[in-house]
């Protein structure tokens, strides 16, 4: 069915379709609408979930951890301060290999306190062992949540999946979304969760035991391998979704007008839409420019990036996050990928923009591309500052 849906509604409706047994959350802007919609669905009897409203994000993540260890499907959502408050538990969920799905309505981190969008929160949990997917628009947010459960619950993966959805820019914006009518078809795509190890009185196991130096490293190695294996699973989940529901937004990456491009903009999230508009205009003025969208930030799609960038001369990385004392974060990973693959001669310019909800317009992007033509090996340059620069 085609509907005009707020991003939060698209997310919660996608979650409704996978019928999670246990949901737990704590409110924080701009995640609030998601959990409000879900609460209402439960209150109206449209979703048969146990919804536990807790006293903190730390407990929200702990509740889904406990429930997930019992072998049931679980979901939570947060943003910003809530996410970094949860971080300790996210490491734990990943370490215990529990397939929790978590939405992050991406938002800046304090101080100064700021409720608006950027991706610094997501970057802060980069190394937790959670798979990190990033949605470009409301349609993808809807579809990605259904895929997320399929990826998380794959027996070769068994890791939490974080679905990043830009706060306000997507969560509070209305777009046309084609929703799935048949819950049976979703059940076919995503069969019931069947966990080999779970908390069960008839077959007792101990979870989360003390891992001494003799075993800890192997445990991390297994997690590391599962993350690598998940690349294949993410690709399959996207392909199978396309076959069943007709929608495709890329697998690990997606590309736009890359065939003859000598310059490529790399970014992730909702800004991709704005970049595509700017690229259309830039192409009209004769520039051979394309877009590479990172859809999976963890696992990082090195092979796919390398093959997409084979014939490129210039790369512009635009990111809504920064690593103080270093520069960009995505840009560093792109440079590393190129260097490892003997493609270090490609010029990479990394720019920081859109922090804390600072607007990014197609004109900003157009201007930045023109400016980048004059620059070489820039990293961590702030774009769109008011007075400085």
């Amino acid at each position: 069915m085609r509907q005009v849906l707020e991003g939060s509604m698209a997310v919660s409706d996608g979650v409704r379709m996978v019928e999670p047994h246990v949901i737990s959350a704590y409110p924080i802007t701009p995640q609030t609408h998601i959990v409000e919609h879900l609460s209402k669905m439960v209150a109206d009897g449209n979703l048969k979930s146990e919804f536990i409203m807790v006293e903190s994000e730390h407990s929200a993540a702990s509740v889904v951890l406990g429930a997930s260890a019992c072998g049931v499907r679980t979901y939570t959502a947060t943003a910003s301060q809530g996410l970094i408050y949860m971080e300790e538990v996210i490491y734990n969920i990943a370490g215990m290999r529990l397939p929790v799905v978590l939405t992050v309505a991406n938002r800046a981190l304090s101080a100064p306190i700021n409720i608006w969008n950027d991706m610094q929160d997501a970057m802060a949990i980069r190394d937790t062992g959670a798979i990190m997917l990033v949605a470009e628009n409301n349609q993808e947010a809807y579809d990605m949540h259904i895929q997320a459960f399929k990826i998380a619950e794959n027996p070769d993966v068994m890791l939490p999946v974080v679905v990043n959805v830009d706060g306000f820019v997507l969560t509070h914006t209305f777009e046309i979304v084609e929703t799935i009518d048949s819950i049976e078809k979703v059940r076919e795509y995503l069969p019931p969760l069947d966990m080999k190890y779970k908390l069960d009185v008839d077959n007792p196991y101990s979870f989360g035991t003390l891992g001494e130096p003799s075993v800890y490293m192997e445990s991390r190695y297994n997690l590391y391998n599962a993350m690598n294996l998940s690349k294949k699973v993410i690709v399959e989940a996207a392909r199978e979704f396309k076959n069943m529901f007709g929608k495709f937004h890329g697998a690990l990456i997606d590309t736009y007008k890359m065939d003859d491009a000598n310059t490529v903009i790399i970014a992730m999230g909702s800004v991709i839409g704005t970049i595509k508009d700017a690229v259309d205009e830039l192409r009209e003025s004769g520039k051979k420019i394309g877009v590479l969208k990172i859809r999976s930030f963890r696992p990082f799609p090195e092979d796919e990036i390398v093959s997409a960038l084979r014939n490129v001369e210039n790369i512009i990385v635009m990111e809504k996050a920064v690593s103080p004392g270093k520069g960009g974060i995505l840009s560093v990973e792109i440079r590393d990928t190129l260097y490892k693959n003997k493609m270090a001669s490609i010029n990479v310019n990394g720019y920081i923009l859109g922090l804390g909800g600072r607007d990014i317009t197609p004109k900003n992007i157009y201007d930045l591309v023109v400016r980048a033509e004059r620059e070489e090996n820039v990293d961590g340059k702030f774009i769109g500052l008011r007075r400085l620069e």
């Binding site: 047994h21 246990v22 737990s24 048969k48 979930s49 146990e50 536990i52 409203m53 807790v54 006293e55 903190s56 730390h58 407990s59 702990s62 509740v63 889904v64 951890l65 406990g66 429930a67 997930s68 260890a69 019992c70 072998g71 049931v72 679980t74 300790e88 538990v89 734990n92 215990m96 779970k198 908390l199 069960d200 009185v201 077959n203 007792p204 196991y205 101990s206 979870f207 989360g208 035991t209 003390l210 891992g211 001494e212 075993v215």
Partner: protein
């Protein structure tokens, strides 16, 4: 009170690495004899988790999970929710457990949330009066004037500067159906309370006084004796409450002066050096006397 099979149910079994004389491990065994195999336990980081589950070994013959230091009440909440939604809750006890630090300090927020939601969970706090697992640092349940490694005695200090917080009363303030205080020194009383807690639906809080050999610095053979003395002095009142009402107290049969209890423990040794120490012992006696009056222990 229990059948032979129950007493030897082997749910919390041998092979763990607790210190000799550890009253926490003794209490866990007694508690698991009552709770039986239809129990799922979430345990905080602390001595209990460390000494009972060194991978690949485990002393638990029930489904058991450890996640973090401060979240066992929330993890237990998730377990309860999962059992409920899948129709498997009936006949299963969900147990949350932690030390005094995991319960009354860092985990009090998650515990308060669980109480307030009145989830069908028994939460047990093993109170050994400090962060023992990390080397005897003070907690909110460390008694007045006790030496710990972060409340040392010295020229300017008599040890821990504040009395224990009244954690059971904090539990009662949530108006949960059952709160109880028990002691490793009174095993039958402990088991009776566990049995009662098991039969009640909703959130239950049980706090157990569990002397700690290396933390309190005494000879291992005194664990039970010290637990009994804590009760007989009035320093550790044992009672039961339903909602906000105390419904039973363990009466003191023979009131013992606090010195008898303090002098057996290295953590109070500095109080026996001079006159100033005597005055501090007097303060501890006052706490005992206040407890005796407050809970009508005599």
């Amino acid at each position: 009170m229990l059948t032979k099979e129950e007493t030897h149910n082997g749910i919390f079994t041998m092979g763990h690495t607790a210190c000799s004389g550890c009253a926490q491990s003794m209490s866990v065994k007694l508690i698991m004899e009552v709770l039986g195999k239809n129990t799922i336990a979430a345990t905080s980081t602390g001595c209990l988790e460390v000494f009972s589950t060194r991978y690949p070994e485990s002393s638990w013959r029930i489904p058991w999970i450890h996640s973090l230091f401060e979240n066992s009440a929330a993890v237990a909440s998730g377990i309860e929710a999962a059992l409920k939604i899948t129709g498997k809750k009936d006949g299963i006890t969900v147990l949350g457990q932690g030390g005094d630090g995991g319960t009354a300090d860092i985990g009090i927020q998650a515990l308060s949330g669980m109480f307030e939601r009145n989830q069908d969970i028994l939460y047990i706090c093993y109170d050994n009066g400090a962060y023992m697992n990390t080397g005897y640092q003070r907690s909110g349940l460390t008694p007045l004037n006790a030496y710990t490694t972060t409340s040392p005695s010295g020229k300017e200090s008599f040890g821990n500067s504040r009395p224990k917080k009244y954690m059971p009363e904090i539990a009662m303030a949530h108006r949960i159906p059952y709160t109880a205080v028990a002691s490793a020194g009174y095993p039958l009383d402990l088991q009776k309370k566990v049995k009662k807690a098991k039969s009640i639906k909703g959130a239950k809080y049980l706090q157990v006084d569990v002397p700690c050999v290396p933390g309190w610095k005494y000879e291992p053979r005194y664990s039970v004796k010290l637990a009994k003395l804590a009760v007989q002095t009035g320093l550790y009142p044992l009672f039961e409450a339903e909602y906000d009402k105390i419904i039973s107290v363990k009466k003191i049969s023979r009131k013992v002066p606090v010195e008898e209890y303090l002098k057996l423990q290295g953590r109070f040794k500095h109080l026996f050096k001079d006159e100033a120490g005597k005055a501090e012992i007097e303060k501890i006696q006052n706490i005992a006397d206040e407890n005796i009056a407050r809970y009508a222990l005599i």
